[in-house]
Point group: C2
């Protein structure tokens, strides 16, 4: 199996090295194309007004891993890999292991998820891995699970093209409750900006702490009511797997608006 690995924490992040190494140790043919610097919270940004650079990276990954650092965003990295750097398309795109959770509406901002999203947009199943803490940098549990999950998928492929958004709690393997399939939770942010004055007397703002509240989702009749949200799953020490897709259509909204006439 050929695997493309990317992330948003940058080419030298430990989470990326853990993921690429765990894939290489399992015997897959691994190529890394990752941003040359931290690119968190870049969402699904693309670089269209500037050229992209790609540089071969040596002595960071196991010798059998081909690696490039790229001047673009995570989505650029995957696009460039598929469109120019790789000679054959990979069987799987994996992204991460992100240092920090990608739960609930975080997925909209997440560079890690957007790299995986770019994969499914080009028809390749993809997995985004995140460790749900900004503190501990211990990626051992997440790396081991990445290996476990990809081995399971190699044996029994996913039924359709999909993106799996995987979040791993920052605990030892022995403390995990298990693995659970979840839905995307909804988190409402209450942003607070700090207003400051710079050394030249000019005002600036900095996005500071955010209070987060999980709000209940509208029930979806297609979804079994026992399916936990990713946020709830992590709270119960599960590894959560949330299948995502790229269609943002608000179907309930269409059904509401269909009876209404918008006129010219």
């Amino acid at each position: 199996m050929k695997i493309l690995v990317s992330n948003d924490d940058g080419i030298f992040a430990l989470g990326l090295r853990t993921l690429a190494t765990s894939m290489a140790e399992a015997g897959y043919e691994v190529t890394v194309v990752a941003p040359d610097r931290e690119r968190s919270a870049t969402g699904h940004g693309l670089t269209i007004h500037q050229p992209l650079r790609a540089e071969a990276i040596e002595n960071v990954f196991p010798p059998q891993v081909k690696a490039w650092s790229c001047s673009g965003t995570p989505a650029d990295c995957v696009k460039l890999a598929l469109g120019a750097l790789l000679t054959e398309p990979p069987d799987l795109v994996v992204s991460g292991i992100n240092h920090g959770a990608n739960l609930g509406t975080d997925v909209l901002y997440s560079g890690t998820v957007s790299a995986a999203m770019e994969g499914i947009m080009e028809g390749i199943s993809s997995i985004a891995f995140s460790l749900t803490t900004y503190k501990s940098g211990d990626f051992a549990t997440a790396g081991k699970f990445a290996q476990t999950l990809v081995a399971q998928i190699a044996k029994e492929p996913l039924p359709t093209l999909m993106l799996l958004n995987v979040n791993v709690p920052p605990i030892d393997w022995s403390e995990l409750t298990g693995v659970i399939v979840t839905r995307q939770g909804i988190r409402r942010y209450f942003d607070s900006f700090q207003k400051r004055v710079d050394p030249r007397g000019k005002t600036y703002y900095w996005l500071a702490g955010e209070a987060i509240e999980e709000v209940d989702q509208l029930d979806d009749p297609q979804l079994a009511s026992h399916v936990l949200t990713d946020v709830q799953g992590i709270q119960q020490n599960y590894i959560t797997i949330t299948p995502l897709q790229y269609n943002l259509t608000n179907i309930a909204g269409i059904n509401c608006l269909e009876t209404r006439t918008f006129s010219l």
Copy 2:
């Protein structure tokens, strides 16, 4: 009604001026907070590692319009407006008028849509407006329709919190077929990168033309089969209104995976 206006083409773009002016002329209380430069294809990026600047802008918009340019992305602009610049939350966030279409999977990359997305994430209904051409810079039809649509919503509010992604074809008002509620189409891109060599002999890549193909969506049992995609609607000279939301859960995927055991 209080309206916050943003975009991704930047504070001096004609599309933004057209939208803000059409809202002000209709008698709404308008505040503009828009990027200080072009920020297309930034996706839902946020600025978290740098401060944001906001500068009052005068003599660009009608005198009753308050306007700021902001050093951040479209999503930053809306976040900063709601979190720091506005004293009261607006009733509606409008974004655009984008110079270029935001159809199908474009919405994932679109700064215009992400500004509106930030609105609904903070609980405020939002509308993204786009003119479906990169050529003609004639925003008259789109500006007139923005006024028409917002007046209709002011009179009869939207039934639930939603984002309306509006695309307007680049034709005269008299040539429009009508207004239609659509679903997000799926477009598959076949990217081509140009590989070039810089004056110092180093390689770079530039995202060049893309062949685009609309692929059929899996039928959704909740959706009436007659609902056109946004791409189809535009081809028929309709103004398309696609309700969007921010939940990326792949429900069919969950139902598929529920019968399968992922083990540790």
